[in-house]
């Protein structure tokens, strides 16, 4: 049934991928949907209630047809329930975007057309007569530059005044799509010869599409990421904050809690080994937060610049060897930030088969940002460069083998790469800051809740002697197979709940807990085992939602055994390495 009240009607923003739907959504709703310069940034529907309707931001869709993927079909279902469609067109690629407009007009719903990125189009010599276009379509057409918030108030005014026209002008109803687009283009688009696009962009693209230079750029970016996060942030930044926490904050909290309560249990929960006020605060604010801020800031810049789509082209052949195409590099890279984000982004992949392989790789072999920095800090304790090579070799090896095995046994064939390559652009400072801030807020709020639960559980386990029991039960694996101290079992338990918390605990364990007790070989073994260990609870919940419980359970069990088997194999190799 149609909504008659303005505030209750469903307004759906729809358009092809990367046309600026989320930018318009943010402008209309004042919310903070992520905006990036690549196809597939929005992977689920976001809704926001305003005075002029419930605005829905949808993932990009190329057309409405029987060939639609499951996600595209979900968008079509949302469209069918819409009271008003806001069709967003990229003015630069109007010719192909009009095909979707034509299909939307067949739905016979109220509709507004938003012509976005007109500045980019004009730079490329495409000038669109919006008044003429409006007359031809019989719909209101509004020009915008959404990322600069130009024209968005006009869109809002159109929604408030309820001036949208009914789509589906009779003369276009049954016409062929291409004829429709061609007829409109002839009348409304004026093409002028402009000077070629920025020579810097052109030169950069030449480098990024050169097979040799592009790899050099990719490795340089990777090295810079390692240097900034692993060395400057993980060493210097974290040291400054944690030493402040250790010297000023913790003693104050300890004495305050001791004055406040005599209860041993309460003291243990608040300021004990897994204390909410000590361990949780130090882990989140002292160690994880600086790393996460640094990682997300760098990723935001790369996302905004348009570098990711170029990386898909570069990595396509390598990923094809494990049954994926280059597009999978985007979820994998996002997985390096946070596994849950990476797994959600597998939705941009064309087939369920591709998504399963990418999810398994992210779940098993990709350490999140916080973990990576701690791994770097851990391996930095080792004065043997061979350990670094071994670690990288093992992780890449497990990634290759797990991908290859899935590629062999999963039915079907991997999909072919087909991807829009958007123009390179200077990252928007405002957008990068915005994205970093909102991602960090999301991360921190989720961490605070998770860590509080984890600290409470661990303190209770400790109090009732469960940790000691687990240590005894796991000692055949931990001590005999992995050649690690039996206390490492605690890190296993933490790893099941939250891998980054376990990594922090391992770092403490290696540096302080048993100073000079962990050998180089033990540091490498524990780092590898923890990197490959089961996906943490949040990631598991997302895998469960995206892939179903059977695949989630299989992945959990597989990663547990892979980590133990690889760890025990490594112990044997390291024995040989250090005895010869």
């Amino acid at each position: 049934m149609k909504s008659t009240n303005l505030a209750d009607r469903r307004v759906v923003l729809v358009g092809q991928p990367n046309v600026g739907k989320s930018s318009i959504f943010n402008a209309l709703s004042n919310s903070h949907a992520l905006v990036s310069n690549y196809t597939g940034t929005t992977v689920s529907v976001s809704e926001f209630k305003t005075d002029f309707g419930i605005i829905g931001d949808t993932p990009g869709i190329y057309s409405i047809s029987e060939h639609n993927s499951d996600d595209e079909k979900a968008t079509v279902q949302i469209l069918e329930k819409a009271d008003l469609i806001v069709n967003i067109i990229n003015a630069r690629t109007i010719e192909r975007d009009l095909i979707l407009t034509h299909q939307l007009m067949q739905m016979n719903k109220d509709m507004i057309v938003v012509l976005n990125q007109v500045d980019e189009a004009e730079k490329n010599g495409i000038f669109i007569d919006d008044v003429k276009l409006s007359k031809i379509l019989g719909l209101e057409v509004i020009k915008t530059i959404a990322k600069k918030r130009i024209g968005t108030s006009e869109v809002m005014a159109a929604l408030e005044s309820n001036s949208a026209g009914k789509s589906g002008e009779k003369k276009f109803k049954k016409t062929e799509m291409r004829q429709f687009a061609d007829a409109i283009l002839q009348e409304v688009v004026i093409r002028r010869n402009m000077s070629p696009e920025s020579s810097i962009k052109f030169a950069l693209d030449k480098i990024l599409f050169n097979p040799y230079a592009a790899w050099i750029v990719a490795l340089t970016i990777l090295f810079a990421l390692f240097k900034i996060l692993g060395v400057y942030v993980a060493s210097h930044g974290v040291d400054v904050i944690t030493s402040y926490i250790d010297t000023s904050y913790t003693p104050c909290v300890n004495s305050a809690v001791c004055r406040m309560t005599q209860s041993k249990l309460l003291r243990d929960i608040l300021i004990g080994e897994f204390g909410i006020l000590t361990m949780e605060v130090k882990t989140i604010f002292g160690i994880l937060l600086p790393l996460i801020v640094g990682y997300y800031a760098i990723m935001s810049i790369l996302e905004d610049s348009g570098y990711f789509p170029r990386l898909t082209v570069l990595t396509n052949n390598a990923l094809a060897k494990i049954g994926l195409n280059g597009k999978a590099i985007i979820p994998i890279l996002l997985g390096f930030g946070c596994g849950t984000m990476g797994i959600l982004s597998t939705r941009i992949l064309a087939t369920q088969r591709d998504r399963t392989i990418a999810t398994a790789i992210i779940g098993i072999t990709i350490p999140c940002a916080a973990q990576q920095a701690i791994i770097v800090a851990l391996l930095s304790c080792v004065d043997d460069y061979r350990i670094w090579f071994l670690y990288i070799f093992i992780m890449l090896g497990v990634m290759f083998i797990s991908g290859k095995v899935l590629d062999m046994f999963l039915p079907g064939k991997s999909s072919e790469l087909l991807m829009d390559i958007p123009p390179l652009q200077m990252p928007s400072f405002r957008n990068c800051i915005r994205k970093t801030v909102f991602r960090v807020i999301d991360f921190t709020s989720e961490m605070l809740l998770m860590f509080t639960i984890i600290c409470l559980l661990m303190s209770c386990f400790n109090q009732v002697g469960l940790l000691t029991l687990i240590q005894e039960c796991l000692s055949p694996i931990v001590q005999n197979m992995l050649n690690l101290p039996k206390e490492f079992a605690n890190i296993f338990v933490l790893g099941i709940l939250k891998k980054d918390a376990a990594s922090v605990s391992l770092l403490d364990f290696a540096k302080i807990g048993t100073a000079n007790v962990l050998t180089n070989a033990q540091i490498l073994t524990s780092t590898v085992v923890l990197s490959l260990f089961v996906p943490c609870i949040n990631a598991l919940a997302i895998i469960f939602r995206e892939q179903g419980w059977k695949k989630a359970a299989a992945l959990w069990v597989a990663s547990f055994f892979v980590s133990i088997l690889v760890g025990s194999g490594l112990v044997k190799v390291l024995n040989l390495l250090y005895t010869t």
């Binding site: 060939h67 690629t93 495409i126 291409r178 082209v313 570069l314 396509n316 052949n317 087909l418 829009d420």
Partner: protein, 70 residues
């Protein structure tokens, strides 16, 4: 013998004259690649990257082999 999009060398252009099957035609039309359109190869690093008007698209080898050009 028909020439395919994948046979374009970097810097070379060709006009699309057909597709191996309906599915390919439909998929590529959504990306702005259709019969009569010119495409210029701008890179070939495994996948081929073509520019058609202002649209730049990366296509895997198997897909590009199903697009005929002259």
């Amino acid at each position: 013998m028909k020439r395919t999009l994948y046979e374009l060398s970097v810097g070379e252009s060709g006009q699309m004259i057909g597709f191996a099957d309906k599915n390919t035609e439909h998929t590529l039309r959504n990306f702005g690649l259709f019969i009569g359109r010119n495409a210029t190869c701008i890179a070939k690093i495994g996948p081929i990257v073509v520019r058609s008007d202002l649209v730049v698209i990366a296509l895997g080898k198997t897909l590009a082999l199903r697009v005929y050009i002259k």
